[in-house]
Amino acid sequence: MPDEKGRPNHIEDALSSMHKNQWFTYTDSKNKIYANVRLTDKIGVNGELVDNPVTELPTESAVNTKLTEMQNAWDTLHGE
């Protein structure tokens, strides 16, 4: 969920950039914290539901690192 200018500011920005398709979900969609992130069982590909090819959740550290990388890249691109 980037801010209004598009700068990444949430773990979901990182999660949705780590793999394609709907590979993750939350146990509570109103509380999007790392502890609530889970893998989905199936994803939609070419009209079929197939097993999620992602079989392991990234660590919280890896997600935060990815988010920081995205923020740094955004800041560099926008001169901030």
């Binding site: 969920m1 980037p2 200018k5 598009g6 990444p8 979901e12 920005d13 999660l15 949705s16 950039s17 793999h19 394609k20 398709n21 709907q22 993750f24 979900t25 939350y26 969609s29 109103k30 999007k32 989905t40 199936k42 994803i43 939609g44 590909v45 070419n46 009209g47 539901l49 995205m70 955004w74 691109l77 926008h78």
Partner: protein, 195 residues
């Protein structure tokens, strides 16, 4: 006894009894279409529902199967029991002519791109066909756009007539935005009338 003018002082309350005095067609409004039948108690639409995508995703997805919820923000309402969702396959609560709409919020952070928004329906609970497609185009990075696809489905059988939703991009790293507090990417279902 017929009258052609309203008497001085107007018409008294309860002076006109419409329960048995009206025949023929009633004009709806100036220039409107007269109605001679089709009135029902309550009238209006008999089925509406709205669902949304609750989390972001990247890439081509067909069907959108996860992170879906019925809208639940304060004040949301629906008519009837609403749609049933099973891993992205939506079933209708009743037969009828249904208007279906899919609007998606798209974001690109690295390249110009388009988003293709698709509605796929089946009438045999097996083979899905593309029935509506919307396109949104973006050129700069950090760009947002929104596109909509709409169709009408004659749901003659609630077991066999179903709908799914799909997105694809030229650049599969770009994303559809989801949100659980309000609508960013959503599906609308409105029953317009009988089949």
């Amino acid at each position: 006894m017929s009258k052609t003018t309203i008497p001085t002082g107007g018409i008294a309350d309860d002076a006109i009894n419409l329960t048995s005095k009206v025949t023929g067609a009633l004009p709806v409004a100036n220039g409107g279409t007269a109605l001679t039948s089709g009135f029902t108690n309550g009238g209006g639409l008999t089925g509406t529902d709205m669902w949304r995508v609750t989390a972001d995703f990247a890439g081509n997805v067909n069907p959108i199967s996860s992170n879906l919820e019925r809208c639940d923000e304060t004040g949301f309402g629906r008519i009837g029991t609403g749609m049933t969702n099973s891993s992205g396959t939506f079933s209708f609560p009743s037969t009828g002519i249904w208007l279906i709409s899919f609007t998606a919020f798209h974001f690109t952070d690295n390249s110009a791109d388009y988003i293709s928004i698709k509605i796929n329906t089946t009438t045999d609970n097996s083979t899905y066909a593309l029935v509506a497609q919307g396109i949104a185009q973006m050129h700069p990075v950090d760009a947002f756009s929104q596109g909509t696809a709409t169709c009408v489905l004659d749901v003659t059988n609630t077991t066999n007539c179903k709908v799914r939703f799909e997105t694809d991009h030229a650049d599969t790293s770009n994303k559809i935005r989801g949100q659980s507090a309000y609508n960013r990417s959503w599906f609308e279902f409105i029953r317009l009338g009988d089949t």
